[in-house]
Symmetry: C2
Subunit: 264 residues, 2 copies
Protein backbone atom coordinates (compact mmCIF):
# COMPACT_ATOMS: atom_id res chain seq x y z
CA UNK A 1 0.00 0.00 0.00
CA UNK A 2 1.15 3.51 -0.81
CA UNK A 3 2.15 5.90 1.98
CA UNK A 4 -0.97 7.91 1.23
CA UNK A 5 -3.84 5.55 0.50
CA UNK A 6 -6.87 6.17 -1.69
CA UNK A 7 -9.98 5.24 0.31
CA UNK A 8 -13.30 4.53 -1.39
CA UNK A 9 -16.64 5.06 0.36
CA UNK A 10 -20.02 4.21 -1.08
CA UNK A 11 -23.62 4.74 -0.05
CA UNK A 12 -27.07 4.73 -1.67
CA UNK A 13 -26.95 8.53 -1.67
CA UNK A 14 -25.61 11.34 0.45
CA UNK A 15 -26.02 9.73 3.90
CA UNK A 16 -22.58 8.10 3.72
CA UNK A 17 -21.10 11.59 3.66
CA UNK A 18 -21.48 11.57 7.46
CA UNK A 19 -19.05 8.63 7.40
CA UNK A 20 -16.76 10.49 5.00
CA UNK A 21 -16.85 13.55 7.28
CA UNK A 22 -15.60 11.41 10.19
CA UNK A 23 -12.94 9.82 7.98
CA UNK A 24 -11.67 13.24 6.90
CA UNK A 25 -11.40 14.14 10.59
CA UNK A 26 -9.82 10.93 11.88
CA UNK A 27 -7.92 9.74 8.77
CA UNK A 28 -6.69 12.96 7.14
CA UNK A 29 -3.50 11.64 5.51
CA UNK A 30 -5.40 9.91 2.69
CA UNK A 31 -7.28 10.73 -0.48
CA UNK A 32 -10.91 9.79 -1.04
CA UNK A 33 -13.39 8.78 -3.70
CA UNK A 34 -17.05 8.73 -2.75
CA UNK A 35 -19.79 6.99 -4.74
CA UNK A 36 -23.47 7.88 -4.15
CA UNK A 37 -26.00 5.69 -5.97
CA UNK A 38 -28.54 8.51 -6.06
CA UNK A 39 -30.38 7.22 -9.15
CA UNK A 40 -31.43 4.11 -7.23
CA UNK A 41 -31.72 5.32 -3.64
CA UNK A 42 -32.97 4.53 -1.11
CA UNK A 43 -31.65 1.06 -0.33
CA UNK A 44 -33.40 0.99 3.07
CA UNK A 45 -36.79 -0.18 1.82
CA UNK A 46 -35.54 -2.63 -0.84
CA UNK A 47 -34.87 -6.37 -0.81
CA UNK A 48 -31.53 -7.93 0.06
CA UNK A 49 -31.03 -9.28 -3.48
CA UNK A 50 -31.51 -5.86 -5.07
CA UNK A 51 -29.31 -4.11 -2.51
CA UNK A 52 -26.54 -6.70 -3.01
CA UNK A 53 -26.59 -6.15 -6.77
CA UNK A 54 -26.33 -2.38 -6.37
CA UNK A 55 -23.65 -2.58 -3.66
CA UNK A 56 -21.43 -4.85 -5.74
CA UNK A 57 -21.78 -2.44 -8.68
CA UNK A 58 -20.72 0.46 -6.48
CA UNK A 59 -17.78 -1.45 -5.01
CA UNK A 60 -16.53 -2.49 -8.45
CA UNK A 61 -16.79 1.08 -9.68
CA UNK A 62 -14.63 2.27 -6.79
CA UNK A 63 -12.09 -0.51 -7.40
CA UNK A 64 -11.79 0.75 -10.98
CA UNK A 65 -10.75 4.12 -9.50
CA UNK A 66 -7.74 2.36 -7.93
CA UNK A 67 -8.74 2.42 -4.26
CA UNK A 68 -6.55 0.81 -1.59
CA UNK A 69 -9.29 0.47 1.01
CA UNK A 70 -13.08 0.25 0.78
CA UNK A 71 -15.63 1.51 3.31
CA UNK A 72 -19.28 0.47 2.96
CA UNK A 73 -20.65 3.78 4.17
CA UNK A 74 -24.26 2.61 4.20
CA UNK A 75 -25.81 0.59 7.00
CA UNK A 76 -28.39 -1.06 4.75
CA UNK A 77 -25.81 -2.18 2.17
CA UNK A 78 -23.56 -3.41 4.96
CA UNK A 79 -26.42 -5.25 6.70
CA UNK A 80 -27.79 -6.90 3.59
CA UNK A 81 -24.75 -7.33 1.38
CA UNK A 82 -21.49 -7.31 3.37
CA UNK A 83 -20.67 -10.93 2.49
CA UNK A 84 -21.64 -10.46 -1.17
CA UNK A 85 -19.42 -7.39 -1.50
CA UNK A 86 -16.63 -9.13 0.44
CA UNK A 87 -16.75 -12.01 -2.06
CA UNK A 88 -16.83 -9.67 -5.06
CA UNK A 89 -13.87 -7.37 -4.30
CA UNK A 90 -10.13 -7.77 -3.80
CA UNK A 91 -9.62 -4.60 -1.74
CA UNK A 92 -9.36 -4.62 2.07
CA UNK A 93 -12.69 -3.39 3.35
CA UNK A 94 -14.79 -2.49 6.35
CA UNK A 95 -18.47 -1.88 6.95
CA UNK A 96 -20.23 0.37 9.45
CA UNK A 97 -22.02 -2.31 11.45
CA UNK A 98 -19.23 -4.25 13.17
CA UNK A 99 -17.53 -1.03 14.36
CA UNK A 100 -20.85 0.35 15.60
CA UNK A 101 -21.69 -2.89 17.42
CA UNK A 102 -18.19 -3.10 18.91
CA UNK A 103 -18.36 0.47 20.22
CA UNK A 104 -21.82 -0.13 21.69
CA UNK A 105 -20.70 -3.38 23.34
CA UNK A 106 -17.69 -1.57 24.79
CA UNK A 107 -19.74 0.99 26.71
CA UNK A 108 -22.94 -0.86 27.63
CA UNK A 109 -22.82 -1.88 31.32
CA UNK A 110 -26.35 -3.28 31.21
CA UNK A 111 -25.46 -5.34 28.12
CA UNK A 112 -28.65 -4.03 26.57
CA UNK A 113 -28.59 -1.87 23.43
CA UNK A 114 -31.18 -0.12 21.21
CA UNK A 115 -30.42 0.09 17.48
CA UNK A 116 -32.25 2.57 15.23
CA UNK A 117 -32.08 1.76 11.52
CA UNK A 118 -33.91 1.43 8.21
CA UNK A 119 -36.40 -1.34 7.54
CA UNK A 120 -33.82 -3.25 5.48
CA UNK A 121 -31.14 -3.09 8.15
CA UNK A 122 -33.58 -4.15 10.87
CA UNK A 123 -34.96 -7.05 8.81
CA UNK A 124 -31.45 -8.38 8.27
CA UNK A 125 -30.83 -8.39 12.06
CA UNK A 126 -27.17 -7.66 11.28
CA UNK A 127 -26.81 -5.44 14.37
CA UNK A 128 -28.54 -7.98 16.62
CA UNK A 129 -26.24 -10.74 15.40
CA UNK A 130 -23.14 -8.56 15.85
CA UNK A 131 -24.23 -7.54 19.36
CA UNK A 132 -25.35 -11.01 20.47
CA UNK A 133 -21.96 -12.35 19.39
CA UNK A 134 -20.57 -9.95 22.02
CA UNK A 135 -23.03 -11.08 24.70
CA UNK A 136 -25.27 -8.01 24.32
CA UNK A 137 -29.06 -7.98 24.06
CA UNK A 138 -30.25 -5.84 21.16
CA UNK A 139 -33.60 -4.24 20.41
CA UNK A 140 -33.71 -3.09 16.76
CA UNK A 141 -36.21 -0.45 15.71
CA UNK A 142 -37.02 0.54 12.12
CA UNK A 143 -37.63 4.30 11.82
CA UNK A 144 -38.77 4.72 8.18
CA UNK A 145 -39.76 8.39 8.51
CA UNK A 146 -36.41 9.60 9.87
CA UNK A 147 -34.68 9.65 6.45
CA UNK A 148 -37.46 11.62 4.67
CA UNK A 149 -37.70 14.01 7.64
CA UNK A 150 -33.94 14.66 7.49
CA UNK A 151 -34.15 15.11 3.72
CA UNK A 152 -37.00 17.60 4.19
CA UNK A 153 -34.61 19.60 6.40
CA UNK A 154 -36.81 19.00 9.46
CA UNK A 155 -34.03 17.68 11.72
CA UNK A 156 -35.13 20.04 14.51
CA UNK A 157 -38.85 20.24 13.70
CA UNK A 158 -41.58 19.58 16.27
CA UNK A 159 -43.12 17.01 13.89
CA UNK A 160 -39.84 15.09 13.90
CA UNK A 161 -39.77 15.21 17.69
CA UNK A 162 -43.29 13.69 17.83
CA UNK A 163 -42.31 10.97 15.35
CA UNK A 164 -39.23 10.19 17.44
CA UNK A 165 -41.37 9.91 20.59
CA UNK A 166 -43.78 7.56 18.77
CA UNK A 167 -40.93 5.35 17.58
CA UNK A 168 -38.84 5.40 20.74
CA UNK A 169 -40.71 6.03 23.98
CA UNK A 170 -41.58 2.38 24.55
CA UNK A 171 -37.96 1.37 23.98
CA UNK A 172 -36.84 3.86 26.64
CA UNK A 173 -38.89 1.92 29.23
CA UNK A 174 -36.45 -1.01 28.95
CA UNK A 175 -33.03 -1.47 30.54
CA UNK A 176 -30.92 -0.35 27.56
CA UNK A 177 -28.12 2.11 28.34
CA UNK A 178 -26.80 2.56 24.77
CA UNK A 179 -28.56 3.58 21.54
CA UNK A 180 -26.83 3.08 18.18
CA UNK A 181 -27.60 5.38 15.24
CA UNK A 182 -27.61 2.61 12.64
CA UNK A 183 -28.28 4.73 9.56
CA UNK A 184 -25.99 7.38 8.11
CA UNK A 185 -28.81 9.94 8.00
CA UNK A 186 -29.44 9.79 11.73
CA UNK A 187 -26.43 11.83 12.94
CA UNK A 188 -28.37 14.85 11.61
CA UNK A 189 -31.05 14.02 14.20
CA UNK A 190 -28.54 13.61 17.01
CA UNK A 191 -29.27 16.86 18.89
CA UNK A 192 -33.03 16.17 18.80
CA UNK A 193 -32.56 12.52 19.77
CA UNK A 194 -30.23 13.51 22.60
CA UNK A 195 -32.92 15.82 24.01
CA UNK A 196 -35.67 13.19 24.06
CA UNK A 197 -33.51 10.24 25.14
CA UNK A 198 -33.09 9.55 28.88
CA UNK A 199 -29.70 10.68 30.19
CA UNK A 200 -28.72 7.16 31.23
CA UNK A 201 -28.69 6.12 27.54
CA UNK A 202 -25.48 6.89 25.66
CA UNK A 203 -25.80 7.55 21.90
CA UNK A 204 -23.30 5.86 19.59
CA UNK A 205 -22.80 6.98 15.99
CA UNK A 206 -21.59 4.15 13.73
CA UNK A 207 -19.85 6.69 11.48
CA UNK A 208 -17.46 7.74 14.27
CA UNK A 209 -16.72 4.15 15.27
CA UNK A 210 -16.09 3.18 11.66
CA UNK A 211 -13.61 6.01 11.09
CA UNK A 212 -11.79 4.93 14.26
CA UNK A 213 -11.43 1.38 12.88
CA UNK A 214 -10.10 2.73 9.58
CA UNK A 215 -7.58 4.82 11.52
CA UNK A 216 -6.43 1.66 13.32
CA UNK A 217 -6.15 -0.25 10.04
CA UNK A 218 -4.19 2.55 8.31
CA UNK A 219 -2.10 4.15 11.07
CA UNK A 220 0.10 6.20 8.67
CA UNK A 221 -3.04 7.78 7.25
CA UNK A 222 -4.38 8.71 10.68
CA UNK A 223 -1.77 11.34 11.41
CA UNK A 224 -1.88 14.75 9.77
CA UNK A 225 -0.68 14.76 6.16
CA UNK A 226 1.39 17.27 4.25
CA UNK A 227 -1.64 18.31 2.26
CA UNK A 228 -5.40 18.18 2.72
CA UNK A 229 -7.17 15.10 1.39
CA UNK A 230 -8.16 15.16 -2.26
CA UNK A 231 -11.83 14.14 -2.45
CA UNK A 232 -13.70 13.21 -5.63
CA UNK A 233 -17.39 12.40 -5.80
CA UNK A 234 -19.40 10.21 -8.16
CA UNK A 235 -23.21 10.17 -8.32
CA UNK A 236 -25.61 8.15 -10.46
CA UNK A 237 -28.31 10.88 -10.54
CA UNK A 238 -27.86 14.62 -11.16
CA UNK A 239 -24.56 16.07 -9.90
CA UNK A 240 -26.30 19.31 -8.98
CA UNK A 241 -28.79 17.50 -6.74
CA UNK A 242 -25.91 15.56 -5.15
CA UNK A 243 -24.01 18.73 -4.42
CA UNK A 244 -27.02 20.54 -2.99
CA UNK A 245 -28.20 17.65 -0.80
CA UNK A 246 -24.72 16.49 0.15
CA UNK A 247 -23.21 19.59 1.68
CA UNK A 248 -25.33 19.45 4.82
CA UNK A 249 -24.26 15.82 5.41
CA UNK A 250 -20.58 16.44 4.75
CA UNK A 251 -20.51 19.77 6.56
CA UNK A 252 -18.36 21.37 3.87
CA UNK A 253 -18.44 22.43 0.22
CA UNK A 254 -18.67 19.73 -2.45
CA UNK A 255 -16.97 20.66 -5.70
CA UNK A 256 -15.73 17.79 -7.84
CA UNK A 257 -18.80 15.62 -8.68
CA UNK A 258 -18.95 13.40 -11.77
CA UNK A 259 -22.07 11.73 -13.12
CA UNK A 260 -21.86 7.94 -13.56
CA UNK A 261 -24.34 5.62 -15.27
CA UNK A 262 -23.98 2.05 -14.03
CA UNK A 263 -27.05 0.84 -15.92
CA UNK A 264 -26.12 1.59 -19.51
CA UNK B 1 -57.24 -3.30 -31.98
CA UNK B 2 -58.79 -6.44 -30.50
CA UNK B 3 -62.32 -6.38 -29.05
CA UNK B 4 -60.79 -6.82 -25.60
CA UNK B 5 -57.63 -4.74 -25.33
CA UNK B 6 -54.57 -5.39 -23.18
CA UNK B 7 -53.78 -2.19 -21.28
CA UNK B 8 -50.34 -1.58 -19.77
CA UNK B 9 -49.84 0.66 -16.73
CA UNK B 10 -46.49 1.57 -15.21
CA UNK B 11 -45.32 3.42 -12.13
CA UNK B 12 -42.17 3.71 -10.02
CA UNK B 13 -43.79 1.39 -7.50
CA UNK B 14 -47.21 0.64 -6.10
CA UNK B 15 -48.74 4.14 -6.28
CA UNK B 16 -49.95 3.60 -9.85
CA UNK B 17 -52.20 0.86 -8.49
CA UNK B 18 -54.63 3.65 -7.54
CA UNK B 19 -54.81 4.37 -11.29
CA UNK B 20 -55.23 0.67 -12.05
CA UNK B 21 -58.03 0.45 -9.46
CA UNK B 22 -59.92 3.23 -11.27
CA UNK B 23 -59.28 1.57 -14.64
CA UNK B 24 -60.67 -1.74 -13.38
CA UNK B 25 -63.78 0.14 -12.25
CA UNK B 26 -64.29 2.32 -15.34
CA UNK B 27 -62.75 0.11 -18.07
CA UNK B 28 -63.62 -3.44 -17.02
CA UNK B 29 -63.82 -5.08 -20.44
CA UNK B 30 -60.03 -5.22 -20.83
CA UNK B 31 -57.04 -7.12 -19.53
CA UNK B 32 -54.14 -5.47 -17.74
CA UNK B 33 -50.40 -5.69 -17.20
CA UNK B 34 -48.91 -3.49 -14.48
CA UNK B 35 -45.20 -2.70 -14.14
CA UNK B 36 -43.83 -1.35 -10.83
CA UNK B 37 -40.18 -0.25 -10.91
CA UNK B 38 -39.79 -0.96 -7.20
CA UNK B 39 -36.02 -1.55 -7.38
CA UNK B 40 -35.48 2.05 -8.43
CA UNK B 41 -38.32 3.92 -6.73
CA UNK B 42 -39.04 6.65 -5.91
CA UNK B 43 -38.95 8.73 -9.09
CA UNK B 44 -40.28 11.81 -7.28
CA UNK B 45 -36.93 13.02 -5.94
CA UNK B 46 -34.81 12.17 -9.00
CA UNK B 47 -33.69 14.16 -12.03
CA UNK B 48 -35.62 14.32 -15.29
CA UNK B 49 -32.88 12.48 -17.22
CA UNK B 50 -32.88 9.54 -14.82
CA UNK B 51 -36.67 9.36 -14.68
CA UNK B 52 -36.88 9.44 -18.51
CA UNK B 53 -34.46 6.54 -18.79
CA UNK B 54 -36.42 4.44 -16.29
CA UNK B 55 -39.80 5.35 -17.81
CA UNK B 56 -38.73 4.37 -21.32
CA UNK B 57 -37.43 1.04 -19.97
CA UNK B 58 -40.78 0.39 -18.30
CA UNK B 59 -42.76 1.34 -21.41
CA UNK B 60 -40.65 -0.91 -23.64
CA UNK B 61 -41.09 -3.77 -21.22
CA UNK B 62 -44.86 -3.39 -21.38
CA UNK B 63 -44.79 -3.18 -25.19
CA UNK B 64 -42.97 -6.52 -25.18
CA UNK B 65 -45.98 -7.93 -23.33
CA UNK B 66 -48.13 -7.05 -26.34
CA UNK B 67 -50.15 -4.14 -24.94
CA UNK B 68 -52.65 -2.24 -27.10
CA UNK B 69 -52.73 0.87 -24.94
CA UNK B 70 -50.27 2.40 -22.46
CA UNK B 71 -51.04 4.43 -19.33
CA UNK B 72 -48.24 6.30 -17.55
CA UNK B 73 -49.63 5.69 -14.09
CA UNK B 74 -47.06 7.90 -12.37
CA UNK B 75 -47.31 11.67 -12.15
CA UNK B 76 -43.53 12.16 -11.89
CA UNK B 77 -42.79 10.01 -14.94
CA UNK B 78 -45.56 11.75 -16.86
CA UNK B 79 -44.35 15.21 -15.80
CA UNK B 80 -40.70 14.63 -16.55
CA UNK B 81 -40.76 12.11 -19.38
CA UNK B 82 -44.06 12.16 -21.29
CA UNK B 83 -42.46 13.37 -24.52
CA UNK B 84 -39.52 10.96 -24.20
CA UNK B 85 -41.84 8.00 -23.70
CA UNK B 86 -44.12 9.24 -26.50
CA UNK B 87 -41.12 9.29 -28.86
CA UNK B 88 -39.92 5.85 -27.74
CA UNK B 89 -43.12 3.78 -28.09
CA UNK B 90 -45.51 2.85 -30.91
CA UNK B 91 -48.54 2.16 -28.70
CA UNK B 92 -51.36 4.69 -28.19
CA UNK B 93 -50.79 6.19 -24.76
CA UNK B 94 -52.04 8.57 -22.12
CA UNK B 95 -50.55 10.12 -19.00
CA UNK B 96 -52.20 11.21 -15.76
CA UNK B 97 -51.45 14.94 -15.98
CA UNK B 98 -53.50 16.13 -18.97
CA UNK B 99 -56.64 14.33 -17.71
CA UNK B 100 -56.12 15.73 -14.20
CA UNK B 101 -55.60 19.25 -15.52
CA UNK B 102 -58.60 18.99 -17.83
CA UNK B 103 -60.87 17.81 -15.02
CA UNK B 104 -59.62 20.61 -12.75
CA UNK B 105 -60.12 23.22 -15.46
CA UNK B 106 -63.63 21.92 -16.06
CA UNK B 107 -64.81 22.53 -12.51
CA UNK B 108 -62.84 25.60 -11.37
CA UNK B 109 -65.07 28.67 -11.50
CA UNK B 110 -62.35 30.89 -10.02
CA UNK B 111 -59.88 29.62 -12.61
CA UNK B 112 -57.45 29.08 -9.75
CA UNK B 113 -56.18 25.60 -8.88
CA UNK B 114 -53.82 24.09 -6.27
CA UNK B 115 -51.75 21.07 -7.35
CA UNK B 116 -50.12 18.79 -4.77
CA UNK B 117 -47.28 16.64 -6.13
CA UNK B 118 -43.76 15.30 -5.68
CA UNK B 119 -40.70 17.51 -5.97
CA UNK B 120 -39.98 16.17 -9.47
CA UNK B 121 -43.49 16.83 -10.74
CA UNK B 122 -43.52 20.34 -9.27
CA UNK B 123 -40.09 21.21 -10.67
CA UNK B 124 -41.23 20.22 -14.16
CA UNK B 125 -44.25 22.58 -13.89
CA UNK B 126 -46.14 20.12 -16.10
CA UNK B 127 -49.42 20.78 -14.26
CA UNK B 128 -48.94 24.53 -14.37
CA UNK B 129 -48.32 24.42 -18.12
CA UNK B 130 -51.33 22.15 -18.71
CA UNK B 131 -53.56 24.41 -16.59
CA UNK B 132 -52.27 27.71 -17.99
CA UNK B 133 -52.95 26.36 -21.49
CA UNK B 134 -56.59 26.17 -20.34
CA UNK B 135 -56.58 29.70 -18.91
CA UNK B 136 -56.24 28.53 -15.29
CA UNK B 137 -53.85 29.89 -12.66
CA UNK B 138 -52.00 27.09 -10.87
CA UNK B 139 -50.16 26.98 -7.56
CA UNK B 140 -48.02 23.82 -7.38
CA UNK B 141 -46.89 22.53 -3.99
CA UNK B 142 -44.30 19.80 -3.41
CA UNK B 143 -45.27 17.59 -0.44
CA UNK B 144 -42.23 15.29 -0.02
CA UNK B 145 -43.37 13.73 3.26
CA UNK B 146 -46.77 12.57 2.00
CA UNK B 147 -45.42 9.48 0.20
CA UNK B 148 -43.37 8.20 3.17
CA UNK B 149 -46.27 8.92 5.53
CA UNK B 150 -48.63 6.89 3.33
CA UNK B 151 -46.06 4.11 3.09
CA UNK B 152 -45.71 4.10 6.89
CA UNK B 153 -49.47 3.46 7.01
CA UNK B 154 -50.08 6.84 8.69
CA UNK B 155 -52.76 8.04 6.26
CA UNK B 156 -55.02 8.99 9.18
CA UNK B 157 -52.36 9.85 11.76
CA UNK B 158 -52.29 13.14 13.68
CA UNK B 159 -48.68 13.66 12.55
CA UNK B 160 -49.83 13.47 8.93
CA UNK B 161 -52.56 15.99 9.67
CA UNK B 162 -49.98 18.42 11.11
CA UNK B 163 -47.72 17.95 8.09
CA UNK B 164 -50.67 18.60 5.79
CA UNK B 165 -51.49 21.81 7.68
CA UNK B 166 -47.85 22.95 7.41
CA UNK B 167 -47.79 22.29 3.67
CA UNK B 168 -51.25 23.59 2.81
CA UNK B 169 -52.68 26.21 5.17
CA UNK B 170 -51.08 29.16 3.35
CA UNK B 171 -52.40 27.88 0.02
CA UNK B 172 -55.91 27.77 1.43
CA UNK B 173 -55.73 31.54 2.01
CA UNK B 174 -55.79 32.09 -1.77
CA UNK B 175 -58.71 32.07 -4.18
CA UNK B 176 -58.32 28.49 -5.44
CA UNK B 177 -61.51 26.43 -5.57
CA UNK B 178 -59.97 23.16 -6.84
CA UNK B 179 -57.11 21.04 -5.49
CA UNK B 180 -55.55 18.30 -7.67
CA UNK B 181 -53.99 15.21 -6.08
CA UNK B 182 -51.02 15.08 -8.47
CA UNK B 183 -49.34 11.96 -7.10
CA UNK B 184 -50.74 8.45 -7.15
CA UNK B 185 -50.06 7.99 -3.43
CA UNK B 186 -52.24 10.90 -2.39
CA UNK B 187 -55.68 9.29 -2.87
CA UNK B 188 -54.84 7.35 0.32
CA UNK B 189 -54.76 10.73 2.11
CA UNK B 190 -58.01 11.91 0.57
CA UNK B 191 -60.24 11.55 3.68
CA UNK B 192 -57.69 13.44 5.81
CA UNK B 193 -57.14 16.12 3.15
CA UNK B 194 -60.90 16.51 2.72
CA UNK B 195 -61.25 17.19 6.46
CA UNK B 196 -58.61 19.93 6.59
CA UNK B 197 -59.42 21.55 3.23
CA UNK B 198 -62.01 24.39 3.14
CA UNK B 199 -65.36 23.21 1.79
CA UNK B 200 -65.24 25.64 -1.13
CA UNK B 201 -62.25 23.71 -2.55
CA UNK B 202 -63.12 20.64 -4.60
CA UNK B 203 -60.58 17.78 -4.61
CA UNK B 204 -59.74 16.17 -7.97
CA UNK B 205 -57.96 12.82 -8.21
CA UNK B 206 -55.93 12.45 -11.41
CA UNK B 207 -56.42 8.68 -11.30
CA UNK B 208 -60.20 8.99 -11.73
CA UNK B 209 -59.87 11.53 -14.54
CA UNK B 210 -57.31 9.36 -16.34
CA UNK B 211 -59.52 6.27 -16.22
CA UNK B 212 -62.37 8.36 -17.65
CA UNK B 213 -60.15 9.39 -20.59
CA UNK B 214 -59.19 5.76 -21.22
CA UNK B 215 -62.88 4.80 -21.17
CA UNK B 216 -63.51 7.47 -23.83
CA UNK B 217 -60.61 6.24 -25.94
CA UNK B 218 -61.68 2.59 -25.70
CA UNK B 219 -65.49 2.66 -25.57
CA UNK B 220 -65.92 -1.10 -26.15
CA UNK B 221 -63.74 -1.74 -23.12
CA UNK B 222 -65.74 0.61 -20.89
CA UNK B 223 -68.87 -1.53 -20.79
CA UNK B 224 -69.03 -4.67 -18.65
CA UNK B 225 -67.19 -7.64 -20.13
CA UNK B 226 -68.09 -11.32 -20.24
CA UNK B 227 -65.35 -12.08 -17.74
CA UNK B 228 -63.42 -10.15 -15.11
CA UNK B 229 -60.19 -8.50 -16.26
CA UNK B 230 -57.09 -10.65 -16.19
CA UNK B 231 -54.38 -8.68 -14.35
CA UNK B 232 -50.69 -9.55 -14.29
CA UNK B 233 -48.08 -7.66 -12.28
CA UNK B 234 -44.35 -7.16 -12.82
CA UNK B 235 -41.99 -5.70 -10.21
CA UNK B 236 -38.26 -4.98 -10.32
CA UNK B 237 -37.75 -5.56 -6.57
CA UNK B 238 -39.09 -8.41 -4.42
CA UNK B 239 -42.51 -9.76 -5.50
CA UNK B 240 -43.45 -10.38 -1.87
CA UNK B 241 -42.82 -6.73 -0.96
CA UNK B 242 -44.83 -5.64 -4.02
CA UNK B 243 -47.75 -7.81 -3.04
CA UNK B 244 -47.71 -6.68 0.59
CA UNK B 245 -47.39 -2.95 -0.17
CA UNK B 246 -49.62 -3.02 -3.22
CA UNK B 247 -52.84 -4.44 -1.86
CA UNK B 248 -53.74 -1.33 0.10
CA UNK B 249 -53.31 0.82 -3.03
CA UNK B 250 -55.26 -1.51 -5.30
CA UNK B 251 -57.91 -2.31 -2.73
CA UNK B 252 -57.94 -5.98 -3.63
CA UNK B 253 -55.77 -9.10 -3.54
CA UNK B 254 -52.65 -9.22 -5.71
CA UNK B 255 -51.74 -12.71 -6.87
CA UNK B 256 -49.79 -12.99 -10.09
CA UNK B 257 -46.54 -11.02 -9.60
CA UNK B 258 -43.39 -11.73 -11.62
CA UNK B 259 -39.93 -10.38 -10.83
CA UNK B 260 -38.20 -8.51 -13.67
CA UNK B 261 -34.61 -7.30 -13.85
CA UNK B 262 -34.22 -4.43 -16.33
CA UNK B 263 -30.59 -3.77 -15.36
CA UNK B 264 -28.93 -7.08 -16.15
Amino acid sequence: MKQRPLIGVFDSGVGGLTVLAELLRQVPNADYVYFGDTARLPYGSKSAATVAKYAIGAAHYLEQQGIDFLVIGCNTACAQAYDSVRAAVKTPMIGVIEPGAEAAAGVSRKKDVIVLATEGTVNSHAYRKALEARGIKAEEKACPLFVPLVEEGWGEHSVTEQVAHIYLDDLFKGAADVMVLGCTHYPLLRPLLRRITPERIQIIDSAESTARKVAEALPHAASGGVSAPDVRFFATDSVEKFRRAGEKFLGQRIVDVTHVDLES
